[in-house]
């Protein structure tokens, strides 16, 4: 068996020797270097664009919106984001012009010879300003999207409540900060366009390019190059860069490389949505939730992009992994004159998780209940019903994860022990916990509509080849797909190849997002492998009469007699019948139903579950918070590759530590002013706590070998666990992250 083994990373050798080619490592003959000229105001209109008449423009390719052969928008949920501004400016990083030159240097110099003048309008920069409605920048009320989730009777619930607790929580922007900046190379063809680069979702780019150039499916080819991290940041924005590079390439008739430097990447690309989340919770004397009213506000930025789906996930997760029969969740994403916010690991859930876990602790404190009891009383268990009315029928690891990390006795010993609270260096010790869940796959009817496809082909050498649009972005797609296929076919992992994501060679498996690659696409890959196996079994049966054919450990047996190896039979099939390929597509498990109108039903086919204990030291002089240890248990169904799965959990946890205590974007009139690694601080090895990971495997009957999603769950729990540890250490309850020394000092008065 390959599944459950720590099979070595498929592309590990290339990555370790420097041989892997990332987009900036590729140079093509005749290639030009592109640059994006952006707005310098958050809101207004372009008055004039002046090209310095003393500069030699003959060497420079310039493109503006008039050069777009097709539609001037970046196709996504709504087509409201222009590829290049025409006259209206809606945020500070709005792309206006594109230039390309023989070298990066020349493009930089040329850019300094362009002057753009504007007629400025007062911008809408915050959620509050958007809601005040003094200036309308979208629709009639600045609201991109709103949702209502209602269950039971909230008013009645509050009447039954012994205590009502209110809380308001604020969460910031966060930058994905993949270490490889975004970039693309476009290669123009005869009525065709090929783009390669750093990306999560080749078919998003494929669609966007078709709209921009009025080309057909076959005329556009998108190829993923080795991608140096994504975390959601390379979900939707690469379509913009790809189309920009392609437009320059189209105009120049030469390949164009467009790679951002770090400053541009941080300034212009999407961030995690900042938000304001308000809770009003009714509880009985014993601590049982009887009413919950939650209002979510997310800042979507200047264009719709992915805000509706981020908001949807936020709303569905807003109550947390808790039971409450009377719920009313309202959620709105508003428009502001800031760069569009978008996908970032967790996708709306980390924001609401911070809020519901802080609120849970607030409720406990009000009732003089402890952190563990309040959660145990209200925890969702198998058979319970969520806020959207979903009955949890399978793979509910809630108690398992909770019990794995929360040893009641030890937790309260540590929490209560005054001797531990202050060590010799004068630091204050604190411990906190969080409990959370994450729905895997697209929300609601998403997967049913998407019908993700994947295939298995057989190579001339008789090896299996995975055909899927799912990308390897470091999380281990290639390795786990190989393991799944190896076990389904009964062959070794080394006999499975994974085709590079190239839209001319792989089907649309949907985007590489939403913790769906293993659970959803992995399942489809498994089904396709099953089809290939059946074809080969039938082939062998036909050749050997009605023999009882079996495929065991990579060898075909007929009537108990060993025939030949998998690869020999596969090659024989190719010789006699030509090609061998099988495709499969995803369908939700039976009984999974969702109503988009009422926002009720099975929001996800299954949830992954997590619990976390964070330990911190707070310096009472500087208020600096050091996270010393994180212990976490996460139920992911089945770890196809335990080392890779633990790597997801550790990495996601540290990103969430950054979200909780370090990472803060500083804004000035709609522009990020710390768009550098010097002053946007992400955790280094010295900021990283010791992380102890416990993987819980409550198998999901409809996942590949029982697997659920793992990618995003680890991002959800750390911020509240740390904030509650800080509360334990210093006695001050923070309602806003990151818990920087400055912010904690203010809270502490």
């Amino acid at each position: 068996m390959a599944v459950g083994q720590n099979v070595l990373r498929k592309e590990g050798y290339e990555k370790l020797t420097g041989a892997a080619r990332y987009i900036d490592d590729i140079t093509l003959d005749g290639m030009l270097h592109g640059k994006t000229i952006r707005s310098s105001i958050p809101c207004g209109r372009i008055k004039s664009i002046t090209f310095d008449p003393d500069y030699d423009w003959s060497r420079i390719v310039v493109a503006d919106y008039r050069d777009i052969p097709g539609n001037n928008y970046v196709a996504l949920i709504e087509n409201d984001q222009p590829l290049l501004a025409e006259t209206e400016i809606r945020h500070c990083e709005e792309p206006i012009l594109l230039i390309a030159a023989e070298s990066k240097h020349e493009a930089e110099v040329a850019a300094r010879h362009i002057r753009i003048e504007y007629e400025e309008s007062p911008p809408v920069l915050t959620i509050e300003e958007a809601l005040e409605g003094d200036r309308i920048i979208y629709g009639s009320d600045n609201i991109f999207k709103s949702f209502l989730i209602a269950r039971g009777d909230v008013d009645e619930g509050f009447k039954q409540a012994h205590t009502i607790v209110e809380g308001e929580y604020r969460v910031p922007h966060q930058e994905q900060l993949y270490i490889e900046p975004q970039g693309m190379i476009a290669i123009p063809g005869d009525n065709a366009m090929t783009v390669m680069g750093s990306m999560q979702c080749p078919y998003y780019i494929h669609k966007a390019l078709k709209h921009v150039f009025n080309l057909s499916d076959e005329q556009v080819i998108v190829i993923q190059t080795t991608t140096g991290g994504g975390f959601g940041g390379k979900e939707e924005y690469p379509s913009v860069i790809a189309a920009h590079a392609a437009l320059l390439a189209h105009k120049a008739g030469r390949p164009v490389k467009l790679v951002y430097d770090r400053a541009e990447d941080i300034a212009a690309t999407p961030k995690r949505h900042p938000g304001i989340i308000r809770h009003r919770t009714g509880v009985t004397k014993e601590g049982q939730l009887v009413a919950s009213e939650i209002d979510i506000l997310f800042d979507g930025g200047a264009y719709v992009t992915l805000s509706p789906v981020v908001l949807s996930r936020g709303a569905i997760h807003a109550l947390g992994p808790y039971r409450c029969d009377n719920v009313r969740i309202t959620a709105r994403a508003v428009a502001t004159n800031t760069p569009p916010n978008g996908a970032f690991r967790g996708f709306g859930a980390p924001q609401v998780t911070f809020a519901y876990e802080m609120q849970m602790e607030k409720v406990a404190a009000k009732l003089i209940l402890d952190s563990v009891t309040i959660r145990q009383i209200n925890m969702l268990r198998e058979g319970d019903i969520t806020a959207t009315g979903q009955r949890l029928n399978w793979s509910v690891g809630s108690e398992d994860v909770f019990n794995a990390v929360v040893d009641r006795k030890k937790f309260f010993e540590k929490r209560g022990n005054a001797a531990d609270k202050s060590d010799l260096r004068g630091k204050l010790y604190g411990i906190g916990l969080s409990f959370f869940f994450h729905g895997a796959g697209f929300t609601g009817s998403g997967e049913a509509k998407m019908k993700a496809q994947a295939g298995i082909g057989i190579t001339p050498e008789g090896r299996a080849r995975v055909l899927s649009g799912s990308t390897e972005i470091g999380q281990g797609t290639r390795t786990i797909f190989s393991q799944i296929v190896a076990d389904e076919l009964g062959i070794g992992c080394d006999d499975v190849e994974v085709e590079e994501p190239d839209t001319s060679r792989v089907p649309d498996s949907g985007p590489t997002v939403a913790s769906r690659t293993c659970m959803v696409v992995g399942r489809v890959v498994q089904l396709a492998a099953y089809e290939v196996k059946q074809k080969l079994l039938r082939f062998v049966a036909e050749r050997y009469g009605d023999a009882d054919v079996k495929l065991i450990e990579g060898r075909f047996d007929a009537n108990g007699k060993e025939l030949a190896s998998f690869s020999e039979i596969a090659r024989a099939y190719l010789d006699l019948r030509g090609e061998l390929k099988a495709y499969a597509s995803y369908a939700n498990p039976p009984g999974i139903e969702w109503d988009d109108e009422t926002y009720t039903g099975d929001a996800y086919p299954v949830f992954s579950w997590g619990a976390m204990v964070a330990e911190v030291e707070v310096d009472p002089v500087t208020w600096a918070v050091t996270v010393t240890k994180i212990t976490t248990a996460q139920d992911i169904g089945r770890a196809i590759n335990p080392v890779l799965a633990a790597g997801q959990i550790e990495g996601g946890t540290l990103q969430a530590v950054g979200y909780g205590v370090l990472e803060e974007l500083v804004w000035n009139r709609g522009r990020i002013i710390n768009n550098q690694l010097t002053n946007y601080i992400i955790p280094t090895s010295l900021d990283a706590p010791e992380i102890e990971t416990i993987i819980i495997e409550k198998e999901y009957p409809h996942g590949p070998f029982g697997a659920k999603g793992v990618g995003e769950l680890p991002m959800d729990g750390a911020a509240p666990a740390i904030a509650l540890a800080v509360y334990d250490a210093v006695g001050h309850f923070v309602t806003e992250i990151p818990i920087t020394p400055e912010r904690l000092m203010v809270v502490a008065g």
Partner: protein
């Protein structure tokens, strides 16, 4: 290697001419430079202020060394120069005359991985892989100077190399494993 002097050259230049960017400095007249990269004598003709990073990637086509930030914060461009790890994005190539440089491409010998590379592979220390070359270089420089580092010493040695995927756990494990295997 004196990085401070490089920074002061740039800051002085920037004070004199505030609109100056790296690429202006780089665009000066070329000079011939000789140094050794991964055991091979190389000669390049480059502007003196060209970044070592660009000389490696563009002139020598050694693209294993990566650029993550261009300001010495992320460490993706780390190379070993005369035994010490440094950020090649902050080092002008004119300071490399007669230097002995090791890049990620120089770690494996005859197709056999360096013990660090092997440990990174086995421990799952490389995910997206973009920080890996710099991380390996920082770790190699550490182990060359300190054969049995403690976990804290490892953390200190890679503190200038940012990784966004792993949470550093498996990177530290891998360096420890390589050290104990040596």
């Amino acid at each position: 290697m004196c990085i401070v002097s490089v920074i002061s050259v740039i800051s002085v230049a920037k004070n004199v001419c505030p609109n100056l960017v790296w690429s202006d400095l780089e665009a000066k007249k070329s000079m011939k430079l000789n140094f050794r990269v991964n055991g091979v004598e190389r000669e390049i003709d480059a502007p003196p202020m060209k970044r070592l990073l660009d000389a490696l990637r563009e002139d020598l086509r050694l693209t294993g060394t990566k650029e993550g930030c261009g300001e010495g914060e992320c460490g993706a461009c780390s190379v070993i120069v005369d035994g010490e790890a440094l950020n090649s994005c902050l080092a002008p190539v004119c300071q490399m005359q007669n230097a002995n440089i090791i890049t990620v491409e120089g770690l494996a010998r005859d197709g056999k991985l360096d013990p660090l590379q092997q440990a990174f592979l086995e421990c799952g220390a490389a995910q997206c892989g973009i920080c890996t070359p710099g991380m390996l270089i920082a770790a190699r420089a550490l182990l060359d100077a300190n054969r049995r580092p403690s976990r804290d010493e490892i953390k200190e040695a890679i503190a200038g190399n940012l990784c966004r995927c792993t949470g550093y756990v498996k990177i530290i494990d891998a360096i420890e494993q390589a050290a104990s295997a040596a």
